[in-house]
Symmetry: C2
Subunit: 242 residues, 2 copies
């Protein structure tokens, strides 16, 4: 019985997910304020009661966006930031992939949320702002701990967090898995994680800008220091790579 | 006379700029579809004719957004991409700074454009799409030429261009020069340019992920090759590939 109930929940979630995503696309396209749920039902070619089964009101839809996107992102970033098994760079990697996959799966919903952010009804607007603040805080903390550990460059952690958020959030504006020749979400996540990590990484970065012989020599010297550290550090590591 | 005319044009542009920015903020806040120009005039505490002097209709405002933001960005990126005095990394740097400064100067307008993108009237929507396509093309070209020159990593140039666009465009969603303690636009541009370039740079990046002795040696070897190239350029390049 448990299994059957879980299956049916999953199927209901799938349908609910599709309806939410298509409704969000329609609202974004026609304007949230001047599109009624009846028009959404007509456009999706489902009955009004069928639509009402998933969305009872337009405010309900906005609440679903805030709870399903902003708050989930904040919660997920919080878990990643607190994960004692990951170092800061691994956390950054995990955080970028998590955000990209969530957005790539529901770009229309994310676009509608961004577009209607300033029109959210009062209590929901507060929940949304608080979740955004938390998400930024978790990401800044991860970046700051990476800087403190020497793994990331000495950037402004808050501007850097906004840079990463922007790179990921913008996926909603250009990505559509349905478009012919579109890369898989995992491929987008791979590229953005690599770009984000390299962008903040302590290796390269700072010294990478110089293009004369002197800076090439400086990089060489850094590499030799780095190699020396690796060879003299806890013996297990050296043995493993030998 | 020329100077006086230029000054007065500049003053008119400044006022026009402020009115456009505040009108955009109001439209975004209250919803574009259900806010009238009269309500905007009331909220800005100016007369309707005074407002009409700058914005004759809501469609006019949308046209001003597309022409002043999307098309200007595309034109500016086109000039940077074609500038024979800059190498690909310098072009990328210039492009990021150009976008960040434009957006940081008018965040509300940029937010309204993003929010109303799917509701633009038909001919304007086409102009907007074409300018967006061009901007992406110019940025991808710059990145691809950097990859071909060996200055940037072998990333997917189009995904990388979207990453850079996202990082810059997201500035509209969080940056406000008026906020207490807000960094100067130049500071934001500096940080984002550094992150974007390091994120795509060939130095560090790809090899930076390995943390064993073998990868430290690989980095050393890369940097010795690099130093050799710098010392023997331009002839060494052909020999190296042989």
């Amino acid at each position: 019985v448990t299994t059957r109930r879980r299956q049916s929940t999953t199927r209901r979630d799938l349908v609910s997910n599709q309806i939410l995503e298509r409704a969000a696309a329609l609202f974004a396209e026609r304007g949230f304020a001047n599109t009624s749920l009846q028009e959404v039902a007509d456009a999706l070619e489902i009955s009004r009661p069928a639509l009402y089964h998933y969305i009872r009101s337009k405010d309900d839809l906005l609440a679903a966006l805030v709870h399903g996107i902003t708050q989930q992102t904040a919660a997920s970033l919080g878990e990643i930031a607190a994960d004692g098994d990951l170092d800061p760079v691994q956390k950054l990697d995990r955080a970028i992939r998590d955000m990209v996959q969530r957005i790539a799966a529901n770009p229309a919903r994310f676009r509608l949320l961004v577009a209607s952010e300033e029109m959210l009804p009062a209590p929901l607007a507060e929940e949304h702002r608080e979740a955004r603040r938390l998400a930024l805080q978790h990401l800044s903390d991860v970046i700051q701990s990476g800087i403190d550990a020497g793994a990331l460059r000495r950037v402004d952690a808050s501007i850097a967090a906004f840079a990463i958020l922007g790179m990921c959030n913008w996926v909603a504006q250009w990505y559509s898995a349905d478009r012919k020749g579109a890369p898989a979400p995992e491929r987008v996540a791979d590229e953005l994680a690599a770009i984000g990590i390299a962008g903040l990484s302590a290796e390269g970065g700072a010294s990478a800008s110089g293009d004369g012989v002197a800076s090439a020599l400086a990089r060489l010297r850094d590499d030799i220091d780095d190699l020396e550290r690796r060879l003299t550090r806890p013996r297990a590591r050296a043995r493993r790579s030998a």
